[in-house]
């Protein structure tokens, strides 16, 4: 007997979570639905791409180009110094035509010039982020040339409180008069925006629009939100807010509706994407949910 009770209790306990969000069905005759203009629509699958608004500010490339030039010059100097050091060292070892002192001096110069290169590289990393040194010489060289020719514009990307910047690869800019422009993230910026409390990203725009992205020009940017993912689209008109939650009426048959809570959802301007609790093809009420709610909870009864 006790075992049976335990089994029943366990079944009830396990069933509770399944029925927690379930509401009593509402019956509404087809005629009344027609009179009240109730409409339903099937749910469709989709992918969410919730975007977040951010801001892009055109950066002055001169300091970077100057730094890159300095780096290039330092590299050339370091290369020459190293060559000279290697040569004097070899001569000194071969026939002592070069004094040891000269060889040591050349080696020291090479070391100093290499240190200078490293200092410029460190400055590049510290001032412009670690992504720049990782571009390599060719990459930096190309960047420098493109910045100078206006083929590439350099931008700083921020969002309020730095939301959604982490892991961002690309973003869209709203360039007045030109439209949408794709920007590629270079890497994180090394200084924060105190007004937006944003760590910031550095990004570049390549192509003909780049020349319009002049320094200090601030533009709105659309930052794609990660994690929208696959799910079911629920039209915004189907949502009913009540009892501190968001609900949707789902049709059971032509005259029966059940209110189901919304969970695990992403709100986008296009609608709501839910990842669970609803399935493709289910019909939901898109017009008339407030009337159904009134039918389900007659006015004058106890408050919920």
């Amino acid at each position: 007997m006790n075992v049976r009770l335990a089994v029943v209790a366990a079944c009830v306990f396990l069933a509770l979570p399944l029925t927690a969000g379930a509401q009593a069905p509402v019956k509404l005759s087809s005629a009344l639905q027609k009179r009240l203009g109730v409409q339903t629509a099937p749910l469709q699958a989709g992918t969410a791409s919730a975007d977040l608004k951010g801001f892009a500010k055109g950066l002055d490339p001169s300091p970077l180009v100057a730094l890159l030039n300095d780096l290039e010059a330092a590299k050339a100097t370091a290369r020459l110094s190293q060559t000279e050091a290697d040569r004097t060292k070899a001569l000194q070892a071969l026939d002592n035509t070069v004094s040891r002192k000269v060889a040591d001096a050349a080696a020291l110069q090479a070391l100093l010039d290499n240190r200078k290169v490293r200092a410029f590289q460190q400055r590049l990393a510290l001032e412009w982020g670690p992504a720049f040194p990782r571009m390599g010489n060719a990459g930096l060289d190309q960047l420098s040339r493109d910045l100078v020719s206006g083929e590439v514009a350099l931008l700083r990307i921020d969002s309020p409180s730095g939301k959604n910047l982490l892991g961002l690869k690309t973003l869209t800019l709203d360039l007045p008069g030109t439209g949408k422009v794709l920007a590629t993230v270079i890497g994180p910026a090394r200084t924060a925006d105190p007004l937006m409390r944003s760590g910031g990203l550095l990004a570049k725009v390549s192509g003909p629009q780049a020349k319009y992205l002049t320094p200090d020009l601030t533009l709105p940017a659309t930052l794609p939100v990660q994690g929208g993912g696959q799910g079911v689209w629920i039209p915004a008109s189907a949502l009913l807010r009540a009892e501190g939650r968001v609900w949707v009426y789902v049709t059971r048959d032509n005259e029966t509706f059940i209110r189901r809570p919304l969970a695990n959802s992403v709100y986008t301007p296009q609608g709501v994407m839910v990842r669970s609790g609803f399935s493709v093809g289910e019909r939901v009420v898109t017009v008339g949910s407030a009337a159904l709610y009134t039918a389900e909870n007659p006015v004058g009864g106890a408050d919920k």
Partner: protein
Amino acid sequence: MLNAIVRACLRYPRLVVLTAVAFFIYGALFLTRAPYDVFPDFVPAQAEVQTEAPGLSAEQVEQLITRPVEQAINGAAGVETVRSKSQQGLSVVTVVFKSGIDPYRSRQIVSESLSEAADTLPLSARTPRVAPLTSSTMDLLKVGFTSERLSPADLRDWVQWRLRPRLMSVPGVARATVYGGVVRRFEVQVRPDDLQTRGLGLNEVVTAVQGSTAMIGGGFIDTAEQRILIEPRAQATTPAEISEVVVRQANGVVVHLSDVADVVEAAAPDVGDAVIMGKPGVLISLSSQYGANTLATTRAVEAALAEIRPSLGALGITLHENLHRPANFIETALRGITEDLLIGALLIAVVLFVFMGNARTVLISFVTIPLSLLLTLLVLDRLGLSINTMTVGGLAVALGVVVDDAVIDVENIMRRLRVAPASEARAQTVLRAVLEVRGPVIYATLVIVLVLAPVLLMEGLQGAFFVPLAAAFCLATLISLGVSMTLTPALSYLALRSARVPTEPKFLERLKDWHTRRLSATYTAPKILLSLCAVVTLVAVVGLSFFSHSLLPAFREGHYVLQIAARPGTSLATLRRYGEAISRDLLAIPGVASVEQQIGRAEGGEDTWGTEAAEFHVELRPHLSSGAQDEIQAKVHTVLDSYPGLQSEVLTFLGDRIGESLSGETAALAVNIYGADHATLDRVADEVAARMEKVPGATDVTRSTPPQTPSVRIDVDMAAAAANGLTPQEIGLAVQTAYQGNRAAQIFETERAVDIAVTLPIEQRDSPETVGELLLRGTGGTLVHLSDVARVYPSQARTSISHIGGRLVQTVTANPTPSEAARVTSAVKTELAKMALPKGVYLEYQGVSAAADAARWALLSLCGLAFAGIVALLLLAFKDGRAVALVLGSVPVALAGGVAAVALTGATLSLGSLVGFITLFGVAARNAILLIAHTDHLTQTEEQPWSTAVVTRATREKVTPILMTALVTALGLLPLAVQSGQAGREIQGPMALVILGGLITSTLMSLFVMPSLIWAFRQKRPSMLV
């Protein structure tokens, strides 16, 4: 003095008649311009203060606006009750003043108190407004407009700015509230991204907009010969002009408004809507001024509409008139009563002719009766009372006494002329005849006035209704007394001085003989008769206890007011869909002429509902019987019940207004719950509602404070806000701007003012779930999302918060039928007494039933005083307790007939029927007084020996006046009784029925029982049988 008056009238009869003719003509002319109304002004002096507070929640409105306003008003002189309702965006404080206070003075008191409170209100609140002073019935006319051609905004504009000013200029119109359509405004829809990219804040945009629309005068230049005005015109008036306004200019960079915002014409946030005959439209609801003549004002408004009508076709506007026209009820009621009185008058003429058998004598009675009534109306007008169903009812009830006055005199003059010696001058005979009956008649009249005195002293709503009725009755009685002392002798003398006196009709002789024979049999059994009277009285008293009570009857106005409410938070669009569907269903009911729906509220309007509530006005086709109206009402209930979950009420318009004036509720019973916080009151209200629903007959049980409404709660994190350089006020203003729109300025066009609001684009403010993403810009230029500085989450808010006398209150209402109200109230009290109320919580009962109880008790206590006065008066008249006992003893049997009439016609005792009983008391007492006085006259003046023969003679001589008076009164009231329950006869009908029933028993009592009782108990001497 009496002698002198009558003698003077007989000396100058032509002068008296000429004076009467002058009054007659004056009275007839007065009738053409007299103030007609449905009812007397029954709403006590009150003032309603409305304060708009866009964007504030009910709780914010309560704390920031309602409480300061209440505190300012509460202590003001003459204030009886202060009721308030705080709801989203609106505070309504209703101040009810003590009885008798001048309404204009009361409003002045409120205005003065408000000026103190105004300084303490928040900036977001607009100036508190005292609603216009309207008449008790308030509604004057509702007119709808639909159009296939015009947009909702254009239609609204036309009604608001073209039609409304014209109608407001009609004398007597106090308020014109417009519902529906779209209210236009210019919106500066700020693009937050662009604002941020330019380092600008909302404040700068608002300042720029204000600067672009400022109107500043330029003064003038005085030359030697002239004064020349300087007239700067620098106001931006179109979206394009506003867009060009400079927001910032610095370092050569100019930012125009168009760089950061779109300026567009858009719809202002709606608080109400209208559906006309099932289609979206615009409704204008007109209210009449306090004291205005409803009929005259309605006709003046209709004349103004008639001027405009020809232009409607070209504009593509369809006019829907008479959606609600209270004047219809007045016209129907007055027409009905006039018809009834005319039919009654015809019947009276027939009876007079049959009994008098002489055209001249009929003419005398027939002239004096209407003259008395006309003079009464003139005096009522001088007293400031309109001609309404109550005053006309008073005249109808007084008809019996007025007729009696006319009949008694003429009949006695005729009788005296028949037996007068040929040598006696006719004037002398007339004088003797008049004086013979005048003394008792004066006492009888005074008794009747005393009987009605308690009604004259009633207060409150009952007093407002019945004092005019009693005043009309008393005035008519007294004036009739005056006419019978002046005009009747003069006319009688002029008409009969040379004419042959007609003999008594043969049938009357035979009737009197028959009566005499039957009467002689009664002298032997006075105790049996007395016992019979006691039994009849006992049965009547027991019967009375079985009757149900109602303050006022159901009015057959041919118009119903339907109120519906969906769950709080339901949108205007959903209510509109309900409205279109319900309107179609209602229009399909045969007999329904028009249907209009007003949803939510209008700024400054009389109804202050949220978007989830609506009111329908259903106008029936004219001339429907009460049965047909009941049938339609049942079908209306069926229609509303077919919409599941909706709370609905079906009321008549006057019932609605009367209920509102009693308790602030339209329901017949209201239980107010006080003494705790919101949560406790909510819990108790739920239990009270559940218990009331169990009481049979307690229909439409409703918590008048509706359930909570969905909301988005924003709890600001003060530390986070401070860390981001934002103050709570900046956050609040940004939220308000985004979702409500910040009214920055107004543009004045030729005849209208258009708001300019700074707000966000629609797509950024249409989702409650993305409120947290609202961008906030601090004064230092910081930019964060709202969710970074506040917890934003879905929640529930209070829909409205009510106070009575400054105390938090929850109200549960029920709407039993008028006849069930008293029983249901009693049962509800019993049921609620079983509840264990939380500490400090207490209940209060209000409504029609409570008021009816109070009125009954007030009436009964005043009746006690009046009774003492009557006894004193009768003692003064007869100087003998036996006569007083006989007079008072004759009354209960007379009342028994009234009880029987009530029992046969629905067993419901309204205050109308109570007044009927009071009148009956007077009529019965009058008969008894005249009979006893005539017996005394025979024994004392004519020195006849005390015997049954004397009593029989006295009775025989009074048969004609008693029968005539009873018949004339009965026939005069018969049409009213037959039409009882029809439009306009709702109050007078039951009265007429009671009087009719009572007249039967009263007449039987006077003719068959009283003589025996007089013989047995009038004299102390041992009886002397014939």
